[in-house]
Symmetry: C2
Amino acid sequence: MLGRTRRLVILAEGSFTPRDAKTAVGVLRYRPEEVVAVLDSTRAGRTAAECAGVGGGVPVVAGLDAAAEHGADSLMIGIAPQGGGLATSWRGVVRDALARGWDVLSGLHEFLADDPELAALARRHGAALLDVRRPPERRVVATARAAGVEPLVVLTVGTDCNVGKMTAALEIDRELTRRGVRSRFVATGQTGIFIADSGAAIDAVPADFIAGVAETLVLEAAGDDGEPPDVVLVEGQGSLHHPGYSGVTLALLHGACPRALVLCHDALRDRIRIHGGERGEPIPPLAEVAAAYEGASRWVHPARVVAAALNTQGMTERDARAVCARAVNELGLPATDPVRFGAGPLAAAVEQERVARREAARHGAG
Amino acid sequence: MLGRTRRLVILAEGSFTPRDAKTAVGVLRYRPEEVVAVLDSTRAGRTAAECAGVGGGVPVVAGLDAAAEHGADSLMIGIAPQGGGLATSWRGVVRDALARGWDVLSGLHEFLADDPELAALARRHGAALLDVRRPPERRVVATARAAGVEPLVVLTVGTDCNVGKMTAALEIDRELTRRGVRSRFVATGQTGIFIADSGAAIDAVPADFIAGVAETLVLEAAGDDGEPPDVVLVEGQGSLHHPGYSGVTLALLHGACPRALVLCHDALRDRIRIHGGERGEPIPPLAEVAAAYEGASRWVHPARVVAAALNTQGMTERDARAVCARAVNELGLPATDPVRFGAGPLAAAVEQERVARREAARHGAG
């Protein structure tokens, strides 16, 4: 991960739960071989699986000494607070890790390498501060060039923030690969970048260049490297209905120029989750949200919702199946929880769209 | 302007025309008393009015020596290229100004004060580098708080970039003030900031905080300073139909939470103007664009288009009147060119909306 294979301890102090420790859970699910411990003193002594439902027997520890005993050589900030700052309480842990010569991997908006004290500590101990949220230097204004790429571009979009857009994209990507379809995952957020070892955190890009960064990521993934993939699966961000993040969402939609969308929803969420834990406006019915995304895509490049990915974490299996069945009915599209029930129906919907598009292109050319 | 009264020379080299020198034209129109010369060696010897239709007898000069003769004491970068970088060819002029001890005012994305050579020069000569596009340090995620303010919040929105959204907002603001309505203009772009001496360039804000900055600006303008205005007029940015900037536009719409929108359009523009001077997709009919804005606003806080501001620059008066009449017909709303024919109908539409809303609130309360 980020240059070499790591033995990570992931900082998730006080919040190592399936819903709060987004980065920790994502990395444990998709890069488990690089995690040796999770730091959450409130849950020390348990296993990752017991706390977060992923990560098997990876131990939860109370401090860096215990992490060192498990062979840790790098610290990852595994909590992504809204706003993105380095909580004062974590500062001591970061300092301690650097003093041990461990690299620190961070997805915070506040860049660790720009902090004079931390930067000096890192230099003194030969440690690296890796800020994956730092935006690319190149400033590109999007011009809808991504609309012209050969692969089918798929974007996961959501009814809200933090509902499973990255997970849906990764699960569909894996399922397509399993089926022999050449698929490429494009990370647009910090956790996705840790998992994919590439990408850009578009939510930290200066406003004028958000869509440009998304466009560049898609062009690169669709690449002229001799073997373009069949499908480019772009990790979505935010939601058109979120008062704080809708701009990021629309910039990504218009920069990436997807042809197909997968609508993601947390089945236990009925209202937008706004900053500070307040409950925002009610989330509209799925069909209305799908129509909003299709309408907004038409402003630049039309896209169609082809399936829905539901996050049913915390529900009984029976309720989860009922929720998926209702979504199928409401949308007239495949809908499932890709983590719980497998991404088969979602991958099939993407593949069907790809084949239909290829046939249409042939027909058009003939 | 920005701390003291200035004697500005505005750099508009090679592009001092009504449509290319957006910042120069804006400052000449609304802060003429602080401009002593415009620098464009390709048009030296003419007056501002001859080149750009504003600025009266302000001389166009070929270099800083001539500007000094007219008493200049500050240089403003008056061109806002897409992408926002400091063109290599302007660097010498900036250096020259600093060497004279003149402050340099810039709205570029590339911050002059972060340039080691320019920063050192400024220090040596006691000059200031004023980067108005630098985003506010405070990181706020929007939560639709602006929806609750007392004044009527009005946002100008556009069919494209650079069609007259700032000008429409300023003209309506002035006309409302003339009519005794307490109106406050909120600048969201570099030219607006120069004119208003306040505001924030939202297009340079990191993506997660764009809407938050817009929200903060509206809350401050609607302020608890004892005398809240009747109307807050927010300068719009970009367009929902622009592939590069639509995210900025939506973030501003959802952060500012306007109740009323004024739709702005350049009557000579039939296609989106995309980066690098290419022509993008056709601009949809005005009614369709208005519906897009109203639909997008409903995702967070509903707003209504109450009037249209047309930019008829370069058209005969007869054609201009015909274009306005067509827009009135198409939208069923007041529509005029506020610079050419006065902002009366637009201000009246805003005022009518404000009164209607106040009556509705009273009715609801009774």
